[in-house]
């Protein structure tokens, strides 16, 4: 780790903090440990045990994969708009060019805002980083606003020749995947086919010389983003810089009934997968009908620093890369 990178990292964090403070957001600082979580079957949690003062077997707890579990409680309790730099933990995401089991997330929630307003906030943030940090010309071009907005529907049509609206059935999407020469698993469900095509055909062809946001994800991909009224899409976008997925944004689902339905559905998936202990059944109770409209963005700070500094991997911008087993030698 050279001092230049340490300084670059610090100045980037400082500019982001100033940006949000000036925009009226409150910085918060929430725990990374919890006994229960929001159910997300595609995420593997790191766990540990708290023994307290006793001699017993202790209580299993999880290291959170994102700060949303606590930040959403703060918003529901009336915190107003908030932001946080948070250490996050995810198992089975091996140390590699874009992944580390421990990483730094910038997450912010804006009340009385939707996902489109959050793109504008993100553009203002990127603009500030371009102005205040000493970037190379190519790095500046890769992050300089405006962000090119492209719906998932447009991107699938343009890069994969697929009309997603005509492929609502798993069989129809499978036929398209096979037409493209892909070989999906025999039991692949709709979201898996969608992601296979996204990764194989779409992501690889996105423009790299400027920021791109893919908007309006299919409702079949389950998450806590609000459904766009009268459409098969969710109010969600993902930001790509230099072809790398950097941030994810929702217009947050705040209807108590819809959040409860999500917990029921995903909790069932986790039970089927033998991981029933994770789900915080009481979480949907934080929502009531007076909850303000809200948009949340989660941004991988190590990846952003990688792009800003023109590095090839997140390891080059982290003060330390995790050392465990022989993973480091094998994958970096």
């Amino acid at each position: 780790m050279d001092r230049e990178i340490l300084r670059f990292r610090a100045s980037c964090v400082r500019e982001i903090r100033r940006f949000f403070e000036e925009a009226g957001y409150l910085e918060v600082d929430t725990p990374v440990v919890s006994g229960k979580v929001i159910p997300e079957p595609t995420i593997d949690l790191l766990n540990t045990t708290i023994h307290g003062a006793g001699d017993g077997p202790g209580t299993p707890v999880f290291l959170l994969p994102s700060p949303e579990f606590y930040m959403k409680r703060l918003v529901a309790a009336g915190s107003g708009s908030i932001f946080q730099f948070s250490r996050c933990f995810r198992d089975r995401e091996p140390l590699s060019r874009l992944h580390s089991p421990e990483f730094l997330m910038l997450e912010w929630y804006t009340v009385n805002a939707d996902y489109i307003a959050s793109i504008e906030t993100t553009e203002a943030l990127l603009e500030r980083l371009c102005t205040r940090l000493d970037l190379t010309a190519s790095a500046a071009a890769a992050v300089s606003p405006p962000v090119l907005r492209m719906t998932i529907e447009e991107a699938f049509s343009k890069y994969a020749g697929i009309d997603l609206c005509a492929c609502g059935e798993t069989r129809a999407l499978r036929t398209e995947a096979e037409r493209l020469g892909l070989t999906p698993a025999l039991d692949a469900d709709w979201p898996e086919l969608f992601h296979l095509i996204l990764l194989s055909e779409v992501e690889q062809q996105l423009p790299v010389g400027r920021p791109v946001a893919l908007l309006d994800y299919p409702a079949q991909v389950s998450c806590l983003a609000k459904q766009k009224a009268g459409t098969p899409w969710r109010e969600r976008w993902e930001l790509y810089l230099s072809g790398v997925e950097i941030a994810n944004c929702f217009t947050e689902m705040v209807s108590p009934a819809e959040v409860a339905a999500y917990f029921k559905r995903e909790g069932t998936e986790l039970r089927k997968a033998g991981r029933p202990e994770q789900t915080d059944e009481s979480f949907p109770d934080i929502y009531d009908t007076r909850h303000p409209a809200c948009s949340g963005v989660a941004l991988g700070l190590d990846r952003l620093l990688m792009v800003l500094s023109g590095s090839d991997s997140i390891a080059q911008v982290m003060p330390f890369t995790l050392r465990y087993g022989d993973a480091q030698e094998k994958t970096i």
């Binding site: 595609t42 089975r92 060019r97 698993a185 296979l196 990764l199 194989s200 998450c223």
Partner: protein, 187 residues
């Protein structure tokens, strides 16, 4: 069988019944989806390259390969001729898919041949190898620009960009993966 998530660069796997060498692999995980690996595979029979995306949990068939130390005898127009140094049996490896190895192999030297069910999958050449410069132009007088290079030809026919002080007869160390000059070897 191995899980796709455990695929590593340099591994050989069977895809649609054809043996492939993994030349790149990257772990990818969509924001709200399952984990995949994006791999670059080279069909070792045809040289064709594919870039499939495979679900991490999916099983792929890893090929159990053997390495046979073999002496490189010579190349003809379409094949390399080797002799197994254990059995003294001579065999040939079709050049298709291994064309880029030609200029890196020295006649008479021994290399490990990666075999699977008596099909040669690869020829292992040390990452850094010494070659003798057989032809080099003299440096142009007065050309003292730092970092100036010229191209020389080695005994195997390999062409390498080198600093201008390298002369015919010099021994040089070359990275066999990139074909780049590393340093002059003092003898």
């Amino acid at each position: 069988m191995v899980k796709a998530g455990s695929i590593e660069k340099g591994m050989y796997i069977l895809l649609k019944d054809e043996p492939h060498l993994v030349t790149e692999r990257e772990f990818v995980k969509p924001g709200k989806g399952q984990a995949f690996v994006r791999v670059k595979l080279k069909n070792v029979k045809t040289g064709l390259v594919q870039r499939p995306v495979i679900k991490s949990h999916e099983s792929v068939e890893e090929i159990v390969v053997e390495e046979h130390p073999s002496q490189y005898l010579y190349a003809d127009e379409s094949a390399y001729h080797f002799m197994d140094t254990d059995t003294y049996e001579q065999f040939e490896i079709p050049m298709a898919g291994f064309e880029e190895k030609k200029d890196f192999m020295k006649e008479g030297d021994t290399y490990d041949i990666v075999m699977w069910e008596s099909i040669p999958l690869g020829i292992k050449i040390p990452l850094k190898e010494t070659y003798t410069v057989s032809a080099a132009e003299d440096a142009v007088k007065g050309d003292t620009v730092t970092g100036a290079t010229k191209t020389v030809v080695c005994e195997t026919g390999l062409q390498v960009k080198v600093p201008i002080f390298i002369k015919s007869g010099d021994k040089i160390l070359v990275n066999t993966d990139t074909g780049e000059y590393v340093e002059r070897v003092n003898t």
